[in-house]
């Protein structure tokens, strides 16, 4: 579904992404992890058209290079950010309908918007201004707006950041439902290894923009290079 081939991104002298290649299969939940500054979010920004790059990124056989972010959204790739990107003075319903109206190839689909609001469990808050939602509500809203674009793949950037145990459980459940019930391919950047090992089918570990390992989660987390450079002994012993 998504293929990165020899992708490199430099900011001046800094090599943020270094000759990175990997493949995400249709219907998969694919994890990306690595230390802070490893280039995880930069990879997302390259896939979604925020920066130009060297190499090739293909989505369902279509070359994404040179496409602006809004066209990539229309091509079926939706994403979220670590800090919720919301429209504070719009209501929950309006915010989600923005995704449907502009991101979906079918245009505004009010039934679909209503279904998404129910799906992300924001029915009670649908007439509230989004600026008044709590953090979990804002994260669900951002996922809802992304889903309203009727994507084929959803990319989540550290969705658990700043969440407590109950919120993490709720978000993990939502991610499983998006993958299981909607059939969406999901890529997830996360620091909580437990979340990644429980959710994902394949895990990519990067450091300094380069791949250390890309394998099944249980294989990746026991890889010697991954233990040394990222997760440390403590995780393995536990």
């Amino acid at each position: 579904m998504l293929t990165l081939t020899n992708v490199t991104k430099k900011f001046g002298e800094l090599v943020a992404v270094n000759d990175l290649s990997f493949k995400v299969e249709d219907g998969q939940i694919f994890g990306i992890a690595g230390p802070n500054g490893a280039g995880k979010s930069t990879v997302y920004n390259l896939i979604t058209g925020f920066y130009p790059y060297e190499g090739r990124i293909e989505f369902n056989g279509r070359d994404l290079s040179g496409m602006p972010p809004y066209k990539i959204a229309k091509a079926g790739i939706a994403r979220t950010f670590q800090i919720p990107q919301i429209f504070p003075s719009l209501t929950v319903e309006k915010s989600i309908s923005v995704g449907s109206r502009f991101g979906s190839r079918d245009g505004l689909d009010e039934d679909h918007v209503a279904e998404i609001i129910r799906f992300v469990e924001l029915s009670e808050e649908k007439n509230q201004k989004t600026g008044h939602l709590n953090l979990l509500g804002k994260k669900k809203l951002m996922i809802g707006a992304a889903l309203a674009t009727k994507p084929r793949m959803l990319m989540l950037d550290e969705p658990m950041a700043g969440s407590n145990a109950n919120e993490i459980k709720a978000l993990m459940d939502l991610i499983r439902r998006i993958n299981g019930e909607m059939g969406l391919t999901i890529i997830i950047i996360e620091h909580f290894m437990k979340v990644l090992t429980e959710l994902t089918e394949k895990l990519l570990i990067i450091e300094s923009g380069a791949m250390i390992c890309c394998d099944l989660p249980e294989v990746a987390t026991s890889d010697k290079r991954v233990i040394e450079s990222y997760i440390g002994d403590a995780y393995v012993e536990r």
Binding site: P68, V98, F102
Partner: protein, 300 residues
Amino acid sequence: MFSEDTILLFYEITDVIIAGLSTGSVYALMAVGMTLVYGVTKAFNFAYGDFFNMGGYFAWILIVGLGLEFGGYPVVLLIVMPLLFAVGYGLEKLLVAPLRKRKDWENKVMMMTLGLALFLTSLYMVVFGVRMKSLPPILEGTWEVGQLVFSYQDIMIFVMSISGILIFAWVLNNTRIGMAVRAVAQNPVGATIVGIPKERIFATTFAISTVMVGFGGILLSQKWFINPNSGGIIMVKAWVVTALGGMGSIRGGLYAAFIIGMLEAFVGWMFGMSYGIIALFVLLLATLVLRPQGLRGKGE
């Protein structure tokens, strides 16, 4: 019951209020346009006042220069409004959009629009000369209610400005383009990842603001005069309105526009028109010292 002097004073004050409402409504129209472009693109447009002149001059070419007799102002507006939109859209794409990709682009856009303002002022001098020009009133005559006399011109300016603002508000709240503008103003990154072409919205916003200030130019050129330098004064007034209302606040800009319209009218009546601009600067300084965020802007 009232002495003749008191009644005379009442009539004079009513005249001043009508004049203040009339010019205030045009300032409100211009303030909405300026606030819109600042709110969405976060860049200050110093050529804004020269688009006021552009509206006035385009209408002058049609009505006075070419002697357009068919259809009057409705036909003029039908021709000039799309023309202003095209000029605004084209200038944004040609001059502003390339700068937005650069570092420190806000300052670069300010400097570029300052250059554009000087260019347009010089262009108007070459094409139209330095002599003042004015447009005929949309509607001539007066409406008398007892002893009170209202000029149709003032009434039409007020009605058309308020109509312009209401149409803008309707577009912003009820149309696809309006929703895109609101989304980009609130969160450009969030807007682009749900499929909104941010760059196109920036250009459209610039074009809409050009139409609004140009429309203001057509309205006020009937009451005042235009000359190549009048854009500078309009720019100053638009800046005072925006600062008093609060940067980025449309509602604040509306309040401020009517306050300034009234202030100018009353100061002009009491001390003479040339004191109006001094009153504006005093108000600007007082605002910046006492309430830098303006009436409706967000504080630190």
